[in-house]
């Protein structure tokens, strides 16, 4: 397992996957407070000439909390796309390119290969989303004022990281079904958005991994941890089930399929 973990770490660094995801998270973490403080008010002033700054301040939530809400929105709308497409080839490409054949023939276990990918990129996603959230918190605090507890922000970062881990598992599963990385990316995005839509339409986010995002918003808005336990438990079970199916699909795979 150690050599597989080292391989994934090297891959993440040398193919710039870590860099791309971290850069996009940090970009929005820094840009969102700046947008809130300077750019958006200026845009609104230009758009509605004659409007007073006080009115604009009432229109926008120009605070640390407002910045974090904006960042969370960016992370869901754009961050997920970056994560899904940066990681879409994690298994799909290995299957398409047949790079798993030599390791399997050399005695590597598929369980170890898949688990290493999940472990390395799960830890990375947790760290990246928490770091992004903390940086946004600090920067927004400097620009506005510190009105939220750091601990809550760390929990929010972890919950977003948890949702990203769910996406990672979907990417791995769909990678065993569709050999194309792009196809895997679109399928993952489509499926996750469909789940989010179902969660909103039927008001069942609590029973879906998308509930992690809703819980994060509730924590930020009113320090409410309600239903978080159920959502977390369901998300963990789903992630374990998906990774088991991924592993089973690989185990029963023939490596010269036509």
């Amino acid at each position: 397992m150690k050599s597989d973990i080292m391989k994934e770490l090297r891959m993440g660094i040398r193919t710039s996957k870590f860099l791309v995801i971290t850069a996009s998270f940090l970009f929005f973490a820094i840009l969102t407070p700046i947008m809130m403080k300077f750019i958006l008010p200026q845009l609104l002033l230009n758009q509605f000439q004659g409007m007073e700054e006080a009115t604009i301040s009432q229109m926008l939530d120009m605070s640390q909390k407002g910045s974090l809400l904006g960042y969370m929105s960016d992370l869901f709308e754009i961050g997920t796309i970056v994560v899904v497409f940066a990681l879409s080839g994690l298994l799909a490409q290995e299957i398409k390119e047949n790079t798993l054949v030599l390791p399997i023939c050399s005695g590597k276990k598929l369980f170890s290969i898949v688990t290493s990918k999940l472990v390395v990129f799960s830890i990375f996603l947790i760290l990246a989303s928490t770091l992004g959230m903390v940086i946004c918190y600090l920067y927004a605090g400097v620009l506005f004022a510190f009105d939220i507890e750091l601990w809550s922000v760390v929990v929010i970062g972890l919950l977003y990281g948890g949702y990203m881990i769910f996406l990672l598992n979907l990417v791995m599963l769909f990678g065993t079904i569709i050999k194309s990385s792009i196809g895997t990316g679109f399928m993952t995005l489509g499926f996750s958005l469909f789940l989010y839509f179902i969660g909103s339409y039927l008001d069942v986010h609590m029973y879906l991994p998308s509930g992690l995002l809703i819980s994060a918003q509730n924590i930020l808005a009113n320090q409410s941890y309600q239903n978080l336990g159920v959502t977390l438990a369901i998300s963990i079970i789903l992630v374990l089930m998906i990774s088991k199916i991924t592993h089973m699909r690989l185990e029963h795979r023939e490596w010269n399929e036509r």
């Binding site: 040398r14 390119e97 030599l102 023939e254 036509r258």
Partner: protein, 304 residues
């Protein structure tokens, strides 16, 4: 070492292998030849444990391939037709990674030895993505012998390489024979097969059409056609003398060279020599033609 009996393999409706028989003995270098699409790679994938036969018996060592869970349960090294490595790994890192199976970890010293054997020691820290096709093939062979298996299955190891790359790979295969390894390798470059193999098997349309040691094959495919080079330009009289023998089936002449087709059998040679001596015909060259592997291949595959 390998025993395949009546092996069949289908992909959905398409039957690739239609009852293949194959036997490889310990220490042999076995050349597995056939046209593109004949079923060579499918056979090799099954033997390597990457795929399961639809029907038939396939024993590698004493292990039935149908019963294994992982390819690593077989004591063999495998080189796919187009070995794919992680381009961001160096050659050394690749072998370190492949050498750590969890149960066994190949020591750095052995990895250095293998890289030296494969002629890659000077490039050990270069990323594999920058390697030429020939270097990748050599790295593939290095990875196949990493765990010191007794059997190596090499799928088209010399194809798509330039003459230098092909020569390097063939030298490595000869080296494997010296190590006492059993090697099954496929190719459609018949010259390569002739250079290194002890035994060949020809597959056509999913069936083995010929399996013989190269020595027996050469003997059984000699033909009674002789190229005789005379000292002087051949005259009508000389031709008539040769044709007077009942064993001569036909002749063709061009200046000093006569191609004589004789009846099959050892007596034919003696008879021809007797005619030459009796008529005091002076010759400077006498050669019995033999089939090349290419002739045999075309004959067996196309029935020509």
């Amino acid at each position: 070492m390998i025993e395949v009996k009546n092996m069949k393999k289908s992909f959905k409706q398409f039957e690739v292998l239609k009852g293949l028989d194959l036997n490889v003995k310990h220490g042999e270098i076995y050349g597995f030849i056939g046209k593109n699409g004949a079923g060579k790679s499918t056979t090799m994938n099954i033997l390597a444990g990457l795929s399961k036969p639809t029907d038939g018996v396939c024993l590698v060592g004493d292990v039935n391939v149908s019963n294994i869970m992982q390819p690593s349960e077989l004591d063999l090294g495998y080189l796919p037709e187009d070995p794919k490595f992680y381009p961001w790994f160096s050659a050394y890192e690749t072998l370190v990674y492949l050498g750590d199976s969890g149960l066994e970890r190949i020591k750095p010293r052995r990895i250095h030895e293998i890289l030296e054997w494969g002629g890659l020691l000077n490039d050990k820290d270069r990323r594999v993505g920058t390697f030429s096709r020939g270097m990748k093939q050599r790295l593939g062979i290095c990875s196949a012998i990493l765990h010191d298996p007794s059997l190596l299955i090499l799928d088209e190891p010399s194809s798509a390489l330039d003459p230098q790359g092909r020569n390097d790979v063939l030298q490595l295969i000869k080296g494997l024979k010296e190590m006492g390894k059993t090697v099954l390798f496929s190719s459609h470059i018949l010259n390569d097969v002739e250079r290194v193999c002890d035994k060949i098997g020809i597959i056509a349309s999913g069936k083995m059409v010929l399996e013989k040691s190269l020595k027996n094959l050469e003997q059984s495919h000699f033909q009674s056609v002789y190229d005789v080079i005379f000292e002087d330009v051949i005259t009508e009289t000389t031709v008539n003398c040769i044709k007077s023998s009942a064993r001569v089936l036909g002749t063709e002449t061009k200046e000093q060279v006569m191609v004589i087709k004789m009846e099959e059998g050892h007596e034919s040679v003696r008879s021809l020599m007797q005619i030459l001596i009796d008529n005091d015909l002076k010759i400077v060259g006498f050669n019995r033609r033999k089939h090349t592997l290419e002739d045999i291949f075309i004959k067996e595959v196309h029935g020509l």
